[in-house]
């Protein structure tokens, strides 16, 4: 399998056990349809996903020594997401190395963001297993150097969640976002407002705050967190 050697060199990491990288590019549709004795990349993805979070988190922690935890979480959420992983996978041409089943092949699985992102995470897990934490860290920091550089320059700083949510949803097509005042509590001079965020008429998230505006921002933040696979 010469292709896998090519991918290895693009990653800038030499595997002691190359079968780990092979597993990382093996989609479950392949093992289901073509070779049940092989392992697919889902377990490696589970492993890599958490290390990716930790490695990016540490980098942001060090890059922004004076920023609070909420700020770091929000920036990380924009980096540690399917979109950012799949962009990186496309830059590596990862699609061409994937092992897919026939169905996935036919329906364009090679360029599906979710499949690409999962394989990227699986590769991180594979490097961790093969070379340990520092090897995985080095590979991630190299591959995501440009994204982290952008982050340091403020590219991912979100201040207005309502606008950010609207922009996110517009990518998904036309949807109607509505904020509905759902409750007030506390004495007049110290009221707390609760707002329900509705998307296309369905309840999506709630937010509370000392003003309606703040409650709306918090509801939008909650909705963003849920949608951007922050967990």
């Amino acid at each position: 399998m010469n292709e896998i050697k090519e991918l290895e060199s693009k990653l800038g990491y030499s595997f002691k056990e190359i079968h780990l990288l092979e597993t990382a590019v093996t989609h479950s549709s392949y093992t289901r349809e073509k070779n049940r004795s092989l392992k697919c990349n889902e377990r490696l993805e589970f492993l890599g996903d958490a290390f990716f979070d930790a490695i990016i988190g540490e980098e942001l922690f060090k890059s922004f020594p004076d920023q609070e935890e909420g700020f770091l979480s929000r920036i990380r959420a924009t980096i540690v997401c399917e979109k950012s992983l799949s962009i990186k996978a496309e830059e590596l041409g990862l699609g061409q190395y994937l092992l897919l089943g026939r169905g996935e092949e036919k329906t364009g699985g090679r360029s599906k963001p979710s499949i690409l992102a999962d394989a990227m995470e699986a590769i991180i897990g594979a490097v961790y297993l093969d070379g340990g934490f520092e090897a995985a860290r080095k590979m991630v920091l190299q591959q995501f150097a440009d994204v982290l550089e952008d982050a340091r320059h403020g590219k991912y700083i979100v201040t207005d969640y309502k606008t950010a949510l609207q922009e996110l949803l517009q990518q998904e097509g036309n949807v109607a976002i509505k904020y509905v005042l759902a409750g007030e509590s506390g004495p007049d001079h110290n009221k707390t407002f609760r707002v329900d965020l509705m998307i296309d008429g369905n309840y999506e998230a709630e937010g509370t705050g000392k003003s309606i505006k703040q409650a709306e921002q918090n509801a939008a933040e909650a909705a963003l967190k849920r949608r951007k696979d922050v967990f």
Copy 2:
């Protein structure tokens, strides 16, 4: 500060920079009220949280070589949560070492699960910064040895999400859980059902499945994930 030395010895890790451990036990209420020049533990918690996930994830990955990603995720979610962290913090007597503001002190902050859990995660972050990944890993595996041993013996294997959700919500008081059939699609021989899960009359989560029972289980699983700070 002799107390902090005592905590250090309980943790089984010697800090090169003891101020990191001091920061890990400093709640934001303390820095806000008493000493604004100190740092509180929130940033360290951000750092430690992700490493805790990764370390426990790897351990489960290795303990269950034949299990799928979903199984590993579910077990991890029961270990990497406020409850399990705060139990560990209580075993360490972490409450007595916390630096709290007056308000938190008065309202029992020293034994609040959320404050204890956050401090535990901050300690993991502090050990990582001080001694690197292997030091953090060693400390976590030592402290959580019993929990991981229980996991290996199947203690945290969830099979029935509806029951698990009910048990979780009962801890929070009496609530009414209702599953409402919200839609069906597909031909008769291959229907997909959609169920809305309502808690006290409010929409909480949805689930789809090839049977109503399966859709209900999936809705309960989604609700559990959201509530158990799986992210």
